[in-house]
């Protein structure tokens, strides 16, 4: 099973001159993101940071296929993104939103696998309950398998979200501030777990956060976005730091400080109109 997983090296993402304007806000409003061009390589851990409202989540939701670009081209492994699909599964910030309240932890983790096991599915795979067991144990939820989401803590719910998307073996794992609503200790443990999972699974991770320490702990590259609207990347930093990262090392502190300063500068641009 481990060998089978290692074969999948994730998928690449390519933004080429991509802009997005929300249709609901009328045609004359400025685009949220404008002329974004960058690439995420297969198997990379890419983190997006930036001031509130800069369009970080928008970027992620475009990769997920929830929002089609208004202009430009967005491709995954060279194929244009047409809509959501299990090759790009997403962990949401909302702790209570995405899980299905009427299903147990085990059934929630099995949900995507069962969908893919249905007759007539493209790339259909048969349902194997041992896969569910595997992912439950990876996130340490085997003892809670029979519980319902409302009986879980926030951290446990996010682990269910992680298990249920990894179970469908996505090429790209999308995470939208997954731990923002959790307490500091839980967040720290889960960050470590995500980092370990990325290294063991060999998939592409795209991770949005407003927590700079978290970004520097996880990312191979960190894209800092400009303040919106018409947002774009200000700079994409490549972190030449080994894993697991030592957040008390001078190099770590240096990277975090530079990114922090850039974000503060971006926030300031929105203050005096």
């Amino acid at each position: 099973m481990a060998d089978e997983q290692r074969e999948i090296a994730g998928a690449s993402v390519s933004f080429s001159d991509v802009s997005l304007r929300y249709a609901a806000s009328g045609g004359d409003s400025p685009p949220v993101i404008s002329n974004v061009t960058f690439e995420i390589t297969a198997g990379e851990f890419f983190v997006v940071v930036g001031p509130s409202g800069c369009g970080k989540s928008t970027l992620l939701r475009m990769v997920a296929g929830f929002l089609p670009p208004t202009a430009g081209s967005l491709t995954v492994d060279g194929r244009s993104v047409k809509g959501p699909g299990p090759d790009r599964a997403m962990v949401f910030q909302s702790v209570d939103g995405p899980l299905l309240d009427w299903l147990t932890v085990r059934q929630n983790v099995a949900f995507g696998l069962k969908l893919q096991a249905r007759p007539g599915r493209r790339g259909r795979r048969s349902f194997d309950s041992s896969e569910v067991d595997h992912w439950l144990s990876v996130v340490g939820l085997t003892p809670a398998a029979g519980k319902y989401p409302h009986e879980l803590s926030g951290g446990m719910k996010q682990r269910v979200q992680i298990a249920r998307i990894l179970a469908v073996k996505p090429d790209i794992v999308l995470m939208d501030e997954p731990f923002a609503a959790l307490d500091a200790q839980t967040r720290r443990l889960l960050q470590q777990q995500v980092s370990d999972l990325w290294r063991s699974e060999g998939r592409t991770f795209v991770y949005v956060t407003h927590d700079i320490r978290e970004a520097a702990l996880l990312g191979q590259r960190i894209g800092v976005m400009k303040a919106g609207p018409r947002s774009n990347f200000r700079e994409i930093h490549t972190l030449d730091l080994s894993y697991p990262r030592d957040e008390f090392s001078p190099e770590f502190g240096q990277v975090a400080r530079v990114i922090e300063e850039q974000i503060v500068e971006e926030v300031m641009t929105t203050w005096d109109g």
């Binding site: 997920a64 296929g65 929830f66 809509g83 959501p84 699909g85 299990p86 790009r88 599964a89 997403m90 949401f92 909302s94 209570d96 939103g97 995405p98 899980l99 299905l100 309240d101 009427w102 299903l103 949900f111 995507g112 969908l115 893919q116 599915r121 319902y148 989401p149 409302h150 979200q161 249920r164 998307i165 469908v168 996505p170 999308l174």
Partner: protein, 258 residues
């Protein structure tokens, strides 16, 4: 253990409150003509009299059947329309004007029309209950379906769900608690309207019992009928709640305890 005693205490308070009201009523009624206000004892006697004549059982069963049939059929009509109205803005635009017009027309106002249209048999009564139930369940269902958390839907889409899966595996179970609550409220409406339906052009049923007793100055029978509605409504509500706590409990985790 602490919880159990709290439950027992609450039950004891309820029992004491009922006893106090009965006692107060008994004292109060002693000073009145039984034609105006019969004592609790007299009402119990009337209930026994009706029961022994096999009238009460028949009337209860007939009224219950009308309420139950109307409630089930009305809900069966309301749920699919409500789901559609909740998920499609066009379906909603189509049904909204009618919903918000008819829901302000009390079923009681339509009694004579329904008798005209559906005759004096069962159909007019059941249809009136259907009318009273439908709009409550429909609005509750539509509100529930439209407020299913979008992250549930998007999350399912990224796991490979198509539109069909989203409807049957996310929207429908996600709306269940609203349907359940809507049907619970509609049940009370069904009991309200059955009195009106049975008051006119009926030969049986608790509503008929009440209206008929009035013409014979049997105020004690009126009281028996009124109590029947209260007790039947209470029992039906408890059965529905029990089903919610057992059979449907996994769908109702987001509901409060009331």
């Amino acid at each position: 253990m602490g919880r159990l005693t709290a439950v027992h205490k609450a039950a004891a308070v309820s029992a004491a409150a009922i006893a106090a009201v009965l006692l107060g009523w008994s004292i109060w009624a002693a000073g009145y003509d039984p034609l105006l206000l019969p004592t609790p004892q007299k009402v119990v006697g009337a209930a026994v009299e009706l029961w022994q004549g096999n009238r009460l059982q028949d009337d209860i069963l007939i009224s219950l059947r009308r309420v139950f049939n109307g409630w089930i059929i009305g809900s069966a009509i309301a749920v699919p329309i409500g789901l559609l109205a909740g998920i499609s803005k066009y379906a909603r635009a189509a049904v909204d004007p009618f919903i918000h017009f008819f829901r302000f027309i009390p079923a009681i106002a339509l009694t004579s029309l329904f008798i005209l249209w559906f005759g004096i048999g069962e159909a007019s009564k059941v249809n009136l209950v259907i009318y009273a139930v439908t709009f409550v369940v429909l609005i509750s269902t539509a509100a529930g379906a439209s407020s299913v958390n979008p992250d549930k839907i998007l999350g399912a889409r990224t796991l490979g769900a198509n539109g069909f899966d989203v409807f049957f595996r996310i929207i429908l179970p996600g709306t269940f608690s609203s349907i359940y609550t809507g049907m619970r409220l509609a049940l009370a409406n069904a009991f309200l309207v059955i009195v009106a339906a049975e008051a006119i052009a009926a030969q049986e049923g608790i509503g008929f019992l009440i209206w008929n007793a009035r013409t014979f100055f049997r105020t004690d029978f009126v009281f028996v009928g009124v109590f029947c509605f209260g007790v039947l409504g209470f029992i039906s509500d408890r059965i529905w709640k029990l089903l919610g706590r057992t059979l449907f409990s996994r769908y109702l985790t987001q509901l409060g305890d009331y």
